[in-house]
Amino acid sequence: MAEAIVTLTDVEKSFGSNLVVQKMNLDIEAGEFLTLLGPSGCGKTTTLRMIAGFEDTSAGSIKVQGEPVEDKEPYQRDVNTVFQNYSLFPHMNVYDNVAYGLTIKKVPKDEIKTRVGKMLELVQLTGYEKRKPDALSGGQKQRVAIARALINNPKVLLLDEPLGALDLKLRKQMQLELKRLQKRLGITFVYVTHDQEEALTMSDRIAVMNGGVIDQLGSPKEIYDHPKTRFVASFIGESNIFDGTVQAVDGTLLTVETPAGLMQTRGEGFAVGEAMHISIRPEHLLAEKQPVPGFDLAGRVKDFTYLGTAVKTAIDLKDGTEAKFSRIEQDAECAEGDTVYVHWKPEKSVAIKKTAG
């Protein structure tokens, strides 16, 4: 395990009586790409701003490279930020924007010139030195903002939804470029986004936030395959989630009663009568013409759609829940209006403990 470059210990933040970040503990490792992922308003920006020094913490402590930063002004911290709205200086051209940090540090002019040149080359903006931000496209502004931060060789780069304002195609392209840049420079990235797909694509680790709390911290694969809370399961990727109670335990095989019907999953540490959730991905759902032992999920197929090679449909279950179902094959076993019996391999589903709240 690499050393932690940023450490958050019991960090809290409240605005008035509004507790926005609660008891946050997070070790960010040197050189990693860590994403804070969560819906709008869950406290991602606030967390980032506390690390950068634009907000005071209400409680707890933040350390950068082992040193507490509470008493340091933003301009004394060894981190740089790429802001959500870029915040380029409108009265300066691209060159002066990128050179700003070095100019402030009174770096000799020749050195500034070479470093800005290199940086613009890195973000593929050579030749745009004299342009004002007004005369740049969204993607170009984005690159300037990144260059302006990176030129200072920060230990940690904080990025607040840096691709949020770009259109989908450009965003996909920039995701790859940013990831490549991060690998090449070996700088720690703390990346904020509400886009789970973006987080899954780019991150080494993801911290999924919900209402000011980190629900789960792990690699994209861990988060996707083994969501620890109902929220994570529903937020990451497409999922069918059922709330129920354990009816029988047989080793790790659990039989669970839900309003939609009986179903099976695998999990450890569950007791009969315990309330819990089951999450199952649409691509793992199976549908049969005959009832399947261990399951009692009859439903009617509707909204049957062929998407080239994939099949997508919703199945209306008896309590009115819609099960999302998708398959990458042409010969789907059912057609619109059919009654089918839904099931899955228990190990493909995830058993989730019910948490308070």
Partner: protein, 276 residues
């Protein structure tokens, strides 16, 4: 012509009417100015009829130390009140736009009171205060008077030019290692410079042609140019006043041309740099 439809003909008529109207308005506005300029070269004391060309009024003007002195007096007061109201106005506008504090709404609406209240009321109020506290009248009192209306105008003008997206530029600057002072002079001030310039022009204009305050709060010794001219007018307008106002108009036109030229030059240079 014949192939024009009724609607087209109507539109054309309306356009011609509009042009005539515009020409008429400008003629009415500028005829007096033109007449005044012409009469400043009139070889005759009373401005009733043309009597031949002369530049004697200009000579007289430059030898009239009362006029020249009060011109300087006015300019100094205008420069000082411009500087004061731009500094105070910039800080005030930033404070009102960027920070939340109790009573902000009240402060904001109180800003308009000196603008709305008749100037004479403010002048009388100030006069009473100065008298009460034994503050001797003169340049200081006029300066304070001018600031009472220049500052609110400056705040309002600059406030309108400060972008609404909070402190993000300042935060970006501090994030990049600049302390508060560096941030103010390198980022905040340049980004609101257009507003600051407009405020400066406005304050200068308001101060230099103010009569009410300047009259009420002037001491016995000096008076500003507008006050002096007004008092001269009581005995009929003399051509040396025509000469003075002609010069002032020329100075203003020159200033406007200059600033327009500088702006065009800067724009062209920016374009050229961009093209490179």
């Amino acid at each position: 012509m014949n192939h024009l439809t009724k609607v087209q003909r109507k539109r054309r008529a309306l356009r011609v009417l509009g042009d005539v109207y515009a020409v008429l308005i400008y003629t009415v506005l500028y005829i007096p100015v033109a007449v005044m300029m012409i009469f400043s070269f009139n070889n005759q004391r009373y401005n009733y009829y043309w009597n031949g060309f002369t530049t004697q009024w200009y000579e007289k003007l430059f030898n009239n130390s009362a006029i020249i002195d009060s011109l300087w007096y006015s300019v100094i007061i205008a420069v000082l009140s411009t500087v004061i109201s731009v500094v105070v106005g910039t800080l005030g506008a930033l404070g009102l736009k960027r920070y939340e504090f109790r009573g902000k709404k009240l402060v904001n609406s109180m800003l308009y009171i000196p603008i709305i209240v008749p100037e004479i009321v403010l002048a009388v109020a100030l006069l009473i205060i100065f008298m009460t506290f034994g503050f001797s009248l003169g340049m200081g009192s006029i300066l304070i008077g001018h600031c009472t209306f220049c500052i609110p105008y400056a705040v309002v003008t600059i406030k309108g030019r400060i972008s609404g997206d909070g402190n993000s530029l300042e935060e970006a600057s501090m994030d990049l290692g600049a302390n508060r002072m560096q941030t103010f002079f390198r980022v905040t001030l340049p980004s609101i410079m257009p507003g600051v310039m407009s405020a400066a022009f406005l304050a200068f204009t308001l101060s230099i042609d103010d009569v009410v305050m300047s009259n009420m709060l002037a001491g016995a010794k000096n008076s500003t140019l507008p006050v002096l001219i007004l008092s001269m007018n009581k005995s009929g307008i003399t051509p040396d006043v025509n000469a003075l106002t002609t010069l002032m108009i020329l100075a203003i036109v020159a200033a406007m041309l200059l600033s327009g030229g500088v702006k065009a030059l800067l724009a062209r240079r920016a374009k050229r740099l961009e093209a490179e």
